[in-house]
Symmetry: C2
């Protein structure tokens, strides 16, 4: 593959997610060819890229990175040639995605990766109409794509291991954190977690327990401050004292059975407990809970300062969030 | 109430949560009387307070704040007199909590607030054996209590509105964000949200879809970065383009019905939709989604810098998190 081709990607579908990808690739010094059949799509997309660009400058542009290296065409067939990766972001409808991916597959070089940004459709379904399905994957990003580093990479039954590795290398080049997901499930991993929280949030609002503002405050003033640094497992590991997750599951495991949420918990079998405990111990490495807590606290102190700098305005923006306690 | 009494609280039960409360009250210039029947509890607690103190200094101590203003007694009856608030943090067992709260209620001044840190027991249940139940509330904090500002305040059927207001004022004095919850439910609000995510996380690990490290990475590199600033509702409001949540529910509402998680979503009735949309519009105030996005981006740019400062070590700490993409 030529050096030029290795530095060029195509983005198919230039809405919020597509424009996010374009911004990220451009900022990392890639050439980008964008395509979208919708009237006025190019202007809308260029506006979005321009709006996001100052943040890319603040984060630091790669050598040679420029908005000038973005071209737009209405011709899908042309757009997807001579690129190392085609990122598809058309609306989330299975039949549409399958049709567009088959079209991309027909015209793209056989050594190019075809990646769908889908959150809810599995790659085995998406690759069905492709002649070269081994290079079709899901690469699911998070909004705003130009700032959040997570990308979930999932292969279908026909996807090759080489394609996964090739895709992983490209996303690492654009400063992302690829999470390789072994099993195809709708929603992959991150969206399932977010959806679980989101559905419970809807129940709380629906049952009149809390308003949307209160639900948001319950996150941003509490667990949300921790989640920027540590996920739920490591968080609980730290909450368990010196014995970490082992103590936690022992002491609070039974509480998992309480019908707090409308989500059923899995049976806490010996195997599941051990898997969770070992995972947390691996994450913690040789570091004691005490050392991890010190890191967390240093981080939280600085995060609180940062959040306070941005709260005064959001608070007045957020209407009764400021007056939360009077609500 | 004397000025001295207004500046003095009692903390009953001095484990992780109790010690967190003690640290917060001391740092905000309160006198604290601590009590715990467990052997060695005082030494353990003083160690925890000492460890947390440097973070309190970084955050900024109130005038006169000092660890010297902490006293310890084995005598519950003595501990709870002449204070404006008694914060109870004994183990999470209903009969034990009810017994301890009744004992506190018997000896505390009648104008003192009695607050339980319980996450799972409702105040109406807790206040049943008290002679002055009108001043018994739940005030549920988040770990680490000395850094996270959220506290959920819930009254029981016998709790007076005055007590709620009185408690709210005290928690505001110690730089907390009181969230007044109208309806008593187990888990209040924040824990229900966290539990929903936590249960889904356990399912993902149980089903072999992801390891605990991968679940944690799926949060910290993605949504976790947003949740420090914005909760799920305002996040979706921003993801919905200029029409915000209204567009979001229109476009993605049906996807809520997909069986991604094992949690049932509520019926998206007209009433629920309107409640959600109006809540988001209130939160957004007069600010366009575009203005909110700019704020979010400025925040995220700085948060990413901050997280990167703390990631290099946690990454090596976190074992295969660094090698995530090879997992």
């Amino acid at each position: 593959m030529s050096t030029q081709k290795q530095q060029t990607v195509a983005v198919v579908g230039t809405g919020v997610i597509g424009a996010g990808w374009i911004t990220r690739f451009l900022a990392q010094g890639f050439d980008v060819i964008a395509t979208d059949p919708v009237d006025g799509a190019e202007a809308q997309m260029r506006k979005k890229v321009k709006q996001a660009w100052p943040y890319m400058e603040q984060r630091g542009l790669a050598a040679g990175a420029s908005m000038e290296r973005l071209s737009f065409t209405n011709n899908l067939q042309e757009a997807v040639q001579n690129v190392c990766l085609i990122q598809e972001n058309v609306p989330e409808r299975e039949e549409l995605k399958r049709k567009v991916l088959a079209e991309i597959d027909k015209h793209a070089d056989t050594d190019a990766i075809i990646a769908s940004s889908t959150s809810g459709i599995t790659p085995s379904v998406l690759q069905q109409n492709c002649s070269n399905p081994e290079r079709v994957i899901v690469a699911h990003p998070f909004h705003p794509v130009y700032l959040l580093p997570l990308v979930e990479i999932v292969g279908g039954t026909a996807t090759s291991q080489e394609s996964i590795s090739q895709a992983e290398a490209i996303y690492k080049k654009v400063e992302m954190k690829p999470l390789l997901i072994e099993r195809e499930i709708e929603g992959h991993v991150a969206d399932r977690l977010m959806e679980a929280l989101w559905r419970e949030a809807l129940h709380l609002v629906n049952d009149g327990v809390a308003t949307t503002e209160e639900v948001d405050a319950a996150i941003t003033y509490g667990a949300g401050l921790r989640w920027a640094q540590m996920g739920p497992f490591l968080t609980f590991h730290l909450a368990g004292g010196e014995q970490g997750m082992r103590h936690m599951l022992h002491q609070f495991g039974p509480a998992l059975k309480l019908p707090w949420t409308k989500l059923e918990a899995p049976e806490l079998t010996y195997e599941l407990k051990e898997r969770v405990i070992e995972g947390c111990e691996t994450s913690a490495g040789n570091h004691s809970v005490e050392e991890l807590e010190a890191k967390r606290n240093e981080f939280l102190v600085r995060l609180l300062d940062l959040v306070e700098e941005y709260w005064p305005e959001p608070q007045s923006i957020m209407g009764n969030k400021k007056e939360l306690s009077n609500g």
